[in-house]
Subunit: 204 residues, 2 copies
């Protein structure tokens, strides 16, 4: 048996993922083939199977990488509404600026989820992961009295996951819209949603 | 030349649209064919062309019907944040309950917009239409001091269009989520976003 250098193995794995993403964007979820991914990555199918056992496994790895990146960001962000609003604006902006076709890939996965159980599971795993990240964050903020304690954590987190995705839609809908204004509105929206409302009356 | 009874013509047109929607949901945007739509509607291709000149024309009519229904609802709603929040919750709920596959069709159109200029134009026309409806509504509300005058109307309207769509995503992501809680969070989110913030300090 050959010994495997784990650093080299991981580098090659990342190279394949980048090549595969280009194929998915170019040919769509169904159109992209293992053969095409191999050509793009410059390796043989036999070689590819050392890294990924199927097209779905590649797609899963792409989705998991997004989740890992987000988990890291959330863990480093102060648990208050302004900080989350700022973080989500940065994340939304990077999606809007994303001209490499990833937006289309995300939307195609969401659409395909209605027909393919494998894709549906991937989409749901990812959004469950994102929802958990957001829910943990909100819980931390509520404990620290930084986030409105009256909000239902799970439902609020699910809504925020949807809103992050909806920013992709905003770019598809209105390519001409000024991103500076839209992201400022997004920041206001999230900050106001999560902040304890200031009461002027004498009631609790 | 045959004379055309406008009432019967419109009835048949609506029948074809219903049959076509079933085909689009079942076979996807690309998979659905004029031949299949004719079979589903029980008419000949020659007959169909009296009503619609192409598959795209049918899709356009489906999208326009949604816009007309929304325009009617907005015109009948009081221009304040609570009323809009309530209306958007009803609209969102009807989408979440929508088990006939329309959600998948909407997502597929959004995904396909990246590749097909015809679909991109349709999607953009629809969202421009929705955005205009919302912007007019917000403008009315700001004039009546019911909606925060500091909000940028066009950007806020675009964001709200995205949020309505994102509710479809919430259902795809988390089929198990309690719709009552999610819609309540949506109501809170929109109402808080649009309401003039109450200031307790002495500054303006």
């Amino acid at each position: 048996m050959r010994t495997v250098d784990p650093v080299k193995h991981e580098e090659k794995r990342q190279e394949i993922l980048v090549a595969a993403k280009r194929c998915f964007v170019r040919h769509g979820l169904r159109g992209a083939s293992i053969a095409g991914i191999c050509t793009e990555a410059g390796i043989s199918p036999g070689h590819l199977y050392h890294y990924f056992e199927s097209k779905d496994a590649i797609l899963q790895a792409i989705v998991e990488a997004v989740l890992e990146r987000n988990a890291e960001q959330f863990s480093q962000t102060a648990a208050n509404s302004d900080a989350l609003a700022a973080l989500m604006v940065v994340s939304a902006q990077s999606k809007v600026r994303n001209d490499d076709g990833t937006n289309g890939l995300i939307l195609e996965m969401l659409a395909e989820a209605e027909r393919s159980p494998v894709i549906a599971r991937l989409v749901q795993e990812h959004s469950r992961g994102m929802q958990k990240l957001l829910a943990d964050f909100l819980r931390r903020g509520q404990t620290q009295r930084e986030i409105d304690p009256s909000l239902d954590i799970e439902a609020a987190a699910a809504l925020l996951v949807g809103i992050i995705d909806s920013f992709v839609l905003t770019a598809v809908h209105n390519p001409a819209l000024d991103p500076a204004l839209t992201t400022e509105m997004l920041r206001v929206l999230i900050a106001r949603f999560l902040t304890v409302p200031i009461r002027t009356g004498t009631h609790d």
